[in-house]
């Protein structure tokens, strides 16, 4: 009985992240529009966009290979598995021990690997621009993320996300310098990985500013719907990660009651809304960087993460 209940909770979490991802993107777009004194599309417009794309005919380039057609499924499945492993409204879910934080990052790296390959598949120069810039950004963002994971793991004593979330929620964590550095570095990495301003513009189709959009330029119809869904899931994933690591209060403990789960879900929705609004405000307030300023920006994140890790190695009090 308990097994079935645990399984149901885990399943509910997986479906919850899938259902909420477009809403989060819709919220960010709506707030950005409002800040620009526009009315903006409705909160549920991304759902309608995905449905519209699903119903359209998919147009493939003549020389697109099987990899081009298979990649969207692989990307969305890797991203979904990674997003489902992050505690949202409850910690200690049934399969949370099967992949720790390093495995989650590596799953996102697989998704990115196939996306970059898909960009190279048709043999156009736009695809090449997108893929080459994406791997350059990833070559700095991913090590920064891993170093942040190290810092967190050294503080919490584990790389399991549930254990870290529990530790962060407990009073023994204190206000540590290395945590502060890890938070700043994580925000920078999250911006880079989700192709947000100041690293990439999610709303552009100008070659000068494209990274993610250039890789998916040749996609259409249901394939494009899957890729859009994957990038929405990725945004949700990173925001959930920041929320569960640095604002972990409100999450139901393992073997909690139904009331605790509902309270956790409400807290989670609130956190998503707050972070979505903050993201929209930040994107509106700042301009996009030059492409070759991005490695310095991400290099700064890597340095901050490395500093946090170094402080943990050097002394336990940091």
């Amino acid at each position: 009985m308990a097994l079935i209940r645990d399984f149901a909770v885990q399943l509910a979490e997986m479906l919850l992240v899938l259902a909420l991802a477009p809403a989060l993107t819709g919220l960010v777009r709506k707030v950005k529009a409002r800040l620009l004194r526009r009315r903006g599309p409705s909160l549920f417009q991304p759902y309608r966009d995905l449905l519209r794309l699903l119903r359209k005919e998919a147009v493939l380039a003549e020389n697109a290979s099987w990899l081009f057609r298979v990649a969207p499924y692989l990307i969305v499945s890797a991203t979904w598995v990674a997003a489902a492993l992050i505690p949202t409204f409850a910690t200690g879910l049934m399969f949370s021990w099967s992949a720790d934080l390093i495995a989650i990052i590596a799953l996102l790296a697989s998704a990115r690997f196939f996306l970059a390959l898909a960009g190279m598949d048709v043999g156009t120069s736009f695809g090449g621009i997108g893929s080459s810039r994406e791997v350059m950004i990833a070559s700095l963002a991913e090590p920064a993320m891993i170093v942040i994971v190290f810092t967190l793991a050294l503080i919490a004593g584990s790389t399991q996300l549930s254990t870290i979330a529990d530790f962060m929620g407990s009073p023994e964590v204190g206000l540590r310098v290395s945590l502060g550095l890890a938070l700043i570095a994580l925000i920078i990495v999250a911006l880079a990985e989700n192709a947000r301003i100041p690293i990439d513009n999610p709303a552009t189709h100008l070659e000068l500013t494209m990274v993610h959009e250039a890789m998916v330029l040749e996609y259409s119809g249901r394939h494009l719907a899957l890729i859009e869904l994957a990038s929405m899931l990725k945004l949700l994933l990173y925001i959930s990660l920041i929320a569960c690591l640095f604002v972990p209060w409100g999450m139901a403990p393992p073997e909690g009651t139904m009331a605790a789960y509902f309270a956790g879900a409400a807290a989670y929705l609130a956190k998503l809304a707050v972070f979505g609004i903050l993201l929209a405000v930040f994107e509106t307030a700042i301009a996009k960087m030059r492409v070759f300023r991005v490695p310095q920006f991400l290099g700064a994140a890597l340095m901050l993460g490395l500093l946090g890790m170094l402080l943990r190695f050097v002394s336990g009090g940091f």
Partner: protein
């Protein structure tokens, strides 16, 4: 008993080598030689695997009356040797299978067939050897037979240069190892490994010298920076199945030599020896992958990438050394297991990738990525196997590369407990370098696969490529299947490695095969766990679910049309990204600092229809800072010493006289 089997297989290899001389010019030579090698490798593999899985049973030894009269030739298989024999013979098996198909296209079979079995024999013998003389003799035999294979296509001046440098570095490495063994054996000790172990711990100075010499000797064969320079010249020059063996297996034999001497024979190394190993390994990892990113020759890219993976293995070994000297045996076992797992993984996927490169070379005649492209349509099966190799080597779950990298990261996370200050600063840096190299490796293989197999063909050869033969495909798919298995069932591999770590660092990881759901737990469940099988199942399930959902909810219509390309499609295949252009952002970020990369564009004036030319200039810092001064100094000294050739008779007599006086003085003072 297993030793006898191993030696019989070696004898079979040597016999086939002689046979190869006789039959190489005939039609039947190739399948005969490779077929017998295949069978012998299979037998040796089975025997070594049985020995490894049997766990802590007694080692089998054998002494043959060959070699030095008072020493004989000792052979022994213990847990470490059994593991490395598995690696060597698995590589030999896959390579022979590949060569059954690939070898038909060989233009100079009389230069390859006799030496290939000799190479396999040499590698097996090095791992079997149990005394210093046999070890060194077989090491040299392995180097010479691989040199002969590198020089197989000796009409090409690049191959000749590669062979020359390889011979130089190999001889230098053997010299370093001879000195190391001399120091270990001591002034009156025996040369058998058992005698060296029994002679007790050498002093710190001797230990330090031995470490440096072994790093020079075994490290140069493995490919540690700065001794790696022969590797990217020699590995591509050899035929593809031999390149796979050299990169995937011979470098591991060098790692075996390092482990045998430092972990087994040396006893107690000092704490700073791990610092040297870690620092070198960290630099090797990052430099190797950066070099690989700058290449556009497919085989050279793979060879430089081997350098990076050797760095990862040595990071694990350095951590194991550090933990062992501080008495943390369980952490040492974790780090050591991570290193050995990576040895196994790398031999699998590097061989697979080299086989793919060989298949491409066979079908198109090109190694240069700038002339390939679109091969996924012409060679679908080979490209699928190559893709699996690319995913595995980029350390992506659920394949095997991720597991060994994950274990190495877990070992790094255990190291704040090490007390030494140098390690406290070095290990986070090495961890960041490892993470950086993992991300760059992904970039490198997106480039390798994307430029070679995807896109549109950039030359006639690429347009007309044909699928490779069945033997090559069989061996590639075998290796790809093993990559997947090792990724989703890592617990069994870790348990198989337990006797090796137990014998060398006195500790082993917790037993993995009894854990539920086939997960692996490196230290304890509360710390971290990973379940490769579950991750694979989850990904498969969610992929199937999305396919099903799309099938039900979405339109099924599909239409083929010319590429969109923002409305400006260009029919010429030269407008797509090349290998150099793909690497340009990374070259600009990292290459400017590390390689002094400079780009120069020659633009014709407006109105002139001639094409613009882009020059990219890279300087190899290791050649400039390390080898060029050494070569200069050697030349300088040689020139000065040359004057000794032209002395008069009186001067020669003076030399003899002076030396005699000196000798008598020394005798007077010290005796």
């Amino acid at each position: 008993m297993p030793v006898v089997i191993g030696l019989c297989c070696v004898a079979a290899f040597l016999a086939v080598s002689v046979l190869g001389v006789a039959t190489s010019r005939s039609q039947a030579g190739t399948p005969l030689v490779y077929g017998i090698c295949l069978a012998a490798s299979a037998v040796a593999l089975a025997s070594a695997l049985a020995q490894l899985l049997a766990g802590g049973t007694a080692d089998s030894t054998l002494v043959l009356p060959l070699g030095l009269p008072w020493l004989g030739a000792h052979f022994r298989i213990d847990a470490l040797a059994a593991f490395f024999l598995v690696v060597v013979n698995l590589g030999g098996f896959a390579s022979s299978l590949f060569a059954l198909g690939h070898g038909r296209h060989e233009t100079a079979p009389h230069r390859v067939l006799p030496f290939y079995p000799a190479f396999l024999a040499g590698m097996n013998l090095v791992v079997l050897a149990d005394d210093a003389f046999t070890f060194l003799l077989c090491w040299e035999f392995m180097s010479l037979s691989s040199w002969a294979l590198v020089m197989a296509h000796h009409r090409d001046p690049e191959n000749r240069r590669a062979g020359y440098i390889y011979l130089l570095m190999a001889s230098f490495g053997t010299l370093a190892l001879i000195l190391a063994f001399g120091l270990l054996a001591g002034p009156d000790g025996g040369y058998g490994f058992a005698a060296i172990r029994a002679s007790g711990h050498p002093g710190t100075l001797i230990a330090a010298l031995v470490l440096v010499l072994v790093l020079l000797g075994a490290g140069s064969k493995a490919g540690l920076v700065p001794l790696h320079v022969w590797l990217p010249l020699a590995h591509p020059a050899a035929p593809s199945h031999v390149s796979a063996l050299m990169s995937g297996v011979m470098t591991k034999v060098a790692v075996y030599g390092f482990i045998r001497i430092i972990f087994d024979l040396l006893g107690e190394p000092s704490w700073w020896s791990s610092m040297i190993v870690l620092a070198l390994a960290g630099i090797t990892t990052v430099l190797g992958v950066l070099y690989a990113l700058m290449q556009h020759d497919l085989k050279r890219l793979l060879a430089y990438h081997t350098v990076e993976n050797i760095g990862i293995i040595f990071i694990g070994l350095g951590l194991a050394l550090a933990f062992r000297t501080d008495g943390m045996e369980w952490a040492a076992a974790l780090a050591f297991t991570a290193a050995l797992f990576h040895v196994f993984n790398h031999s699998l996927f590097k061989s697979l990738l080299f086989f793919g490169a060989g298949a491409v070379l066979n079908s198109t005649g090109e190694r240069d990525m700038e002339k390939l492209g679109g091969l996924i349509h012409r060679m679908p099966l080979a490209s699928f196997a190559f893709l699996v190799g690319c995913v595995a080597i980029s350390a992506l779950p659920p394949l095997n590369g991720f597991v060994s990298e994950w274990l190495t990261f877990q070992a790094i996370l255990l190291s704040p407990e090490l007390p030494e200050w140098g390690l406290k600063i070095l290990i986070p840096t090495v961890g960041a370098l490892l993470a950086l190299s993992a991300a760059l490796a992904g970039a490198c293989f997106v480039k390798a696969f994307g430029v070679t197999f995807l896109g549109r063909p950039r030359s006639k050869h690429a347009e007309k490529a044909l699928e490779t033969d069945n033997f090559s495909l069989a061996s590639m798919f075998l290796l790809a299947a093993l990559c997947l298995l090792a990724g989703i069932l890592p617990g069994f591999v870790i348990d198989a490695l337990a006797p090796v770590t137990q014998s060398l660092v006195d500790g082993h990881m917790p037993v993995q095969s009894t854990l539920s759901w086939l997960m692996i737990i490196p230290v304890s469940e509360s710390r971290s766990s990973y379940d490769g099988m579950l991750v694979f199942v989850f990904i498969a399930l969610s992929a199937l679910l999305s396919v099903y959902a799309i099938h039900r909810l979405a339109s099924h219509k599909l239409r083929r049309a010319p590429a969109w390309d923002c409305g400006y499609p260009d029919p010429s295949p030269f407008t797509q990204y090349t290998a150099s252009s793909f690497a340009q952002p990374i070259r600009r970020v990292f290459g400017a600092v590390v390689f002094g990369a400079r780009e120069r564009v020659e633009m014709p004036p407006p109105g002139d229809p001639s094409p613009a030319v882009l020059h990219v200039e890279l300087r190899d810092p290791v050649w400039d800072w390390f080898y060029a001064p050494v070569a200069f100094a050697v030349n300088f000294a040689a020139e000065r010493l040359n004057h000794l050739q032209f002395l008069t008779i009186r001067r020669y007599l003076m030399l003899v006289f002076v030396l005699l006086i000196l000798l008598l003085l020394v005798a007077a003072i010290w005796l």
